[in-house]
């Protein structure tokens, strides 16, 4: 489902246990990952399915500094690899939230981080009237997705891929999903 041009929501079926199996997490480390509030999943690319997003590492450092929730990476210690991709977009990756309770707090840290990263390069180039702004001068972009359980125990993946300015909408959706009971209805309400 497309909420707008930048946000998509779809059901997510893969479980954290399946991910841990795929990532070959040693049995002794599984409890720690499964017990975290937030778990980062790989984003993958062609033949490197187990690679993580480029900006994840820095986000982890930021989130651990803030220390508001327990965040883990679904990856064995020596298996962490990253994908460095093309365009100048900030890619945070995919995050699995164990419970809806974490939703709002996690969103607070994600949005703070994104603004903190984008702030230095604001103010942006002000578009010149009558000419198309080249893409490399456009406002900074960001992408990430959040997998969140709804009250029925199903998981939804909400993906954002667009300009930094538009992320607030994502916050509204997360709030609705995590406070509500019956996600479908609530997603429908915020749809423009």
């Amino acid at each position: 489902m497309n909420v707008n041009d930048y946000i998509t929501i779809r059901p997510y079926t893969k479980s954290i246990e399946e991910w841990m199996e795929d990532m070959e997490i040693p049995v002794g480390e599984r409890g720690q990952i499964a017990g975290a509030d937030v778990v980062a999943f790989p984003v993958g690319y062609r033949d490197c399915e187990q690679a993580f997003a480029t900006s994840l590492y820095d986000f982890l450092a930021y989130a651990r500094e803030r220390d508001l929730f327990k965040i883990e990476v679904c990856c064995p210690e020596d298996g962490f690899t990253e994908l460095e991709l093309c365009s100048a977009k900030k890619r945070l990756g995919k995050f699995f939230l164990a419970s809806t309770i974490t939703g709002t707090i996690f969103w607070g840290v994600v949005s703070e981080y994104i603004y903190d990263q984008a702030k230095p390069i604001l103010p942006q180039f002000s578009p010149i009237e009558n000419v198309r702004t080249p893409q490399y001068l456009e406002a900074p972009e960001v992408s990430f997705s959040i997998v969140i359980p709804d009250s029925l125990g199903n998981k939804q993946e909400i993906t954002y891929d667009g300009p930094v300015e538009g992320i607030d909408k994502m916050g509204e959706i997360i709030k609705t999903l995590t406070n509500g009971n019956g996600s479908e209805l609530h997603i429908g309400e915020v749809k423009e």
């Binding site: 690319y45 590492y57 210690e77 460095e84 942006q124 001068l137």
Partner: protein, 266 residues
């Protein structure tokens, strides 16, 4: 006694300023601060050093433009941009010193004809921290964040093991220098049309002189282009044939007039 950084920074825009000399003295001052473990002062010196480099690179950009070396100027401008971003994320005060340079660089970039860039896809397997040399690990953070300054040095990633996965063509690249150029046995060719940059350089005569530009859209009539046929490339520059482009437009042929405004210098 500490150096008077404000005094130094106030002079950076004077004609013929010797950036290298100042960078040299800042460097030894920074070394002394680092050795003494004065992190706050070392970081201030890093900011001053970066501000000086930004000015120096901006002057270099201007000189390359004056010499008609447009691609090199583009690359130098990218260095200015990168340094400004590092500065801004570490020193709000420092950013204030170069804000106007940043907006000049962005305006300059907007006049370039480049549109497509080569961009690699890299699978990074191992990297280490430039500050402490520790390998990046998901469980044991060394505590240094990329792009932040520690004891007067910028923290970067040193990639020690990576595999190239592909090259993509993008319009918003990580590296602006990766402009696509056609090449053959004789090497690379620069067929880009730099008319707008050339236009600017007719009026921009000193590096720190303020300038801006505006664009006005007008319509021209077919009669103003002798020899124009339906099969010709449309004079509007769309790359389409005239019959498929502005011939379909009742108002006429699209035309843009760029007006450069520069601050008078005495």
């Amino acid at each position: 006694m500490e150096m008077d950084l404000n005094y130094i920074l106030a002079k950076l825009r004077s004609d013929g300023y010797d950036y290298d000399a100042t960078l040299g003295s800042i460097k030894s001052e920074k070394q002394a601060a680092q050795d003494a473990g004065d992190e706050l002062y070392a970081n201030q010196l890093w900011a001053a050093e970066t501000i000086i480099k930004i000015h120096q690179q901006f002057v270099k950009t201007f000189e390359l433009l004056k010499a008609g070396r447009y691609y090199e100027a583009w690359c130098e401008a990218e260095q200015v941009e990168i340094n400004i971003q590092f500065l801004a994320s570490n020193s709000q005060e420092g950013w204030g010193n170069v804000k106007d340079i940043y907006s000049r660089v962005r305006q300059l970039q907007s006049l370039y004809p480049y549109k497509f860039f080569a961009s690699y896809v890299m699978h990074v397997k191992k990297e280490k921290c430039s500050i402490c040399g520790k390998e990046r690990s998901i469980h044991n953070f060394c505590g240094h964040r990329i792009g932040k300054v520690y004891n007067g040095e910028l923290c970067c990633n040193i990639v020690t093991d990576a595999e190239l996965k592909g090259i993509d063509i993008v319009e918003n690249p990580v590296h602006k220098y990766s402009v696509l150029f056609p090449s053959d046995a004789e090497g690379r060719h620069d067929y880009y049309d730099y008319t707008l940059v050339e236009g600017l350089m007719k009026y921009w005569s000193k590096p720190f002189q303020f300038w801006k530009y505006v664009v006005r859209k007008v319509f021209k009539q077919k009669a103003e282009f002798p020899g124009l046929t339906n099969e010709s490339y449309c004079p509007c520059g769309s790359g389409k044939s005239y019959s498929e482009c502005c011939a379909l437009n009742a108002e006429g042929i699209k035309h843009w007039i760029y007006t450069f405004m520069v601050e008078p210098i005495d």
